[in-house]
């Protein structure tokens, strides 16, 4: 029977910690950029301007329908060849992660906004609200509530997706687990520790998200 030995891993705690830090940074960064990209894309899709909507749709489908792994490799290796400038692997990682999650966020935002009954916009208009006031005070607050579960879900997936940046040598948690494995020849322990660290961050976050969701449900 396999004898687990986590002791040899302790000396590498700083590698795990640094890897975890980078994973958090890439997740938080790509979520922040992704929200901006998602809002712009969602706005373009709902603008009613056909060519703009088409471009937004094209971007979304390219990033939703190709593997993130391929996108990372493509942005790091192929894109620099096409434009003639080399891209730092960290920039390529952040750019790809943001564009990837932005495509999904756009769809979540769009779905949330469209799910709000037309009568809500009419009622806002009927008391003289401008389209902007109607969007920010009536439609968005209701849409946000409906978007929240999907948004959290996508963000949790995003946290785990960052593990793929290790293929372009960004030293995230997955990369560090591989390094530790290389040093110790203890793959099961190395990757178990990696998994536990992912859980340690995500589990509290999903619980907090549940709490927020319950608080928002008071008006239902």
């Amino acid at each position: 029977m396999y004898k687990w030995n986590f002791d040899v891993l302790w000396q590498y705690w700083d590698l795990f910690l640094y890897g975890l830090w980078l994973t958090v940074v890439y997740t938080a960064g790509s979520i922040a950029f992704g929200v901006v990209i998602g809002l712009i894309t969602c706005g373009a899709r709902l603008s009613g301007w056909k060519s703009l909507s088409f471009i937004a749709r094209l971007y979304q489908e390219i990033f939703r329908c190709t593997p993130l792994l391929v996108q990372l490799l493509w942005f790091y290796y192929a894109f620099p060849l096409l434009v003639g400038v080399s891209i730092d692997n960290r920039v390529a990682a952040m750019l790809t992660l943001s564009l990837y999650v932005g495509a999904f966020y756009a769809e979540i935002f769009r779905g949330g906004i469209l799910s709000i009954d037309r009568g809500q916009r009419e009622a806002a208009a009927a008391i003289g609200m401008s389209p902007m006031q109607s969007m920010t005070r009536i439609v968005m607050p209701q849409a946000l509530k409906r978007m929240l579960p999907s948004f959290i879900n996508q963000s949790v997936i995003q946290f785990k997706n960052t593990s793929l940046v290790s293929v372009i040598s960004v030293a995230d948690l997955a990369y560090m687990a591989a390094v530790v494995n290389g040093q110790t020849y203890r793959p099961l322990e190395s990757y178990t520790v990696m998994a536990l660290l992912y859980i340690a961050v995500l589990f509290p976050l999903t619980q907090i998200a549940d709490l927020i969701e319950r608080r928002l449900r008071v008006s239902d």
Binding site: D117, Q120, E122, A123, A125, A126, I127, G128, M129, K145
Partner: protein, 263 residues
């Protein structure tokens, strides 16, 4: 921001508060309104009746530009309503029109994320810039008039249909509208809840509010309306006081329509 309650009307049209001229409205190939004129004088109550699909809801929705007419114009205090939200040149903006012309919908359309009180104060505070304390005081007064003071902190989803519609009426009245448009406001209610909403409307009629009412409640229309318009297939087929329309129709189509409600 202060709201001009009495914009300078054209002296020639002093009688006509809200006016629709030659309104046509098509949805794709479907012609819903085929040239309709309607004038609302101050203090007048006009009932729009007619079979489903006759265009009466579309007409009332054109009066506050909720539907933009395909052709024809809307005039408020004699001034033409433009296509822009804000006033532009000689045209009154759609936003200005809607601040003075309230609307209540068949399906209430209360804001579910706001309490009853917030639903009523939202317009005055956000659109008119009324100080919160003043808006709340007015809202509480309106809620007591519709008998819902005790529900001020409830959310709309916890109210019955009749209660929702009474809140919706209070929300519209909070803007101190010069005209109130009621679009089939009892059609989505359980029969036993219709009475409480009609009672509230009757009080507004007694207060002298100018109103256009789309309704299937013939007895109520006959009772409160100064004038009845009968629409069929996108045109006004008959028009007159309730005695000449609902009670003693001479027009054949109107007669057939009204007879369906007498039993």
């Amino acid at each position: 921001m202060t709201i001009e309650r009495e914009p300078d009307g054209n002296a020639m049209n002093a009688e006509a508060l809200l006016e629709a001229r030659g309104i046509r409205k098509s949805f794709g190939a479907l012609k819903v309104l085929k040239g309709v004129d309607l004038t609302l004088a101050r203090g007048e109550v006009v009932a729009l009746i007619g079979p489903s699909g006759s265009g009466k809801s579309t007409l009332i929705r054109c009066l506050n530009m909720m539907e933009i007419p395909t052709a024809g114009t809307i005039h408020f205090h004699g001034k033409t309503i433009g296509r822009e939200f804000r006033d532009a040149g000689d045209c009154t903006g759609i936003g200005t029109l809607r601040r003075h012309v309230g609307m209540v919908f068949q399906h209430f359309n209360l804001f579910p994320h706001k309490t009853v009180l917030e639903n009523v104060t939202e317009g005055p505070i956000v659109v008119c810039g009324t100080p919160r304390a003043e808006a709340v005081a007015h809202a509480l007064d309106l809620l007591s008039q519709v008998g819902l003071s005790q529900k001020r902190d409830a959310y709309p989803n916890h109210l019955s249909g009749g209660q929702k519609q009474r809140v919706a009426i209070a929300r519209a009245m909070a803007m101190r509208p010069e005209v109130l448009l009621l679009d089939e406001v009892t059609s989505a209610l359980d029969p036993e809840l219709v009475g409480e909403v009609l009672a509230v409307i009757r009080r507004l009629v007694d207060d002298g509010i100018t109103m256009a009412i789309v309704t299937h409640e013939m007895a109520f229309a006959a009772d409160v309306a100064d004038r009845v318009l009968f629409l069929d297939e996108g045109t006004i087929v008959a028009e007159g006081p309730p005695d000449e329309t609902i009670r003693n129709p001479s027009n054949e189509r109107l007669k057939a329509f009204v007879s369906r409600f007498n039993h």
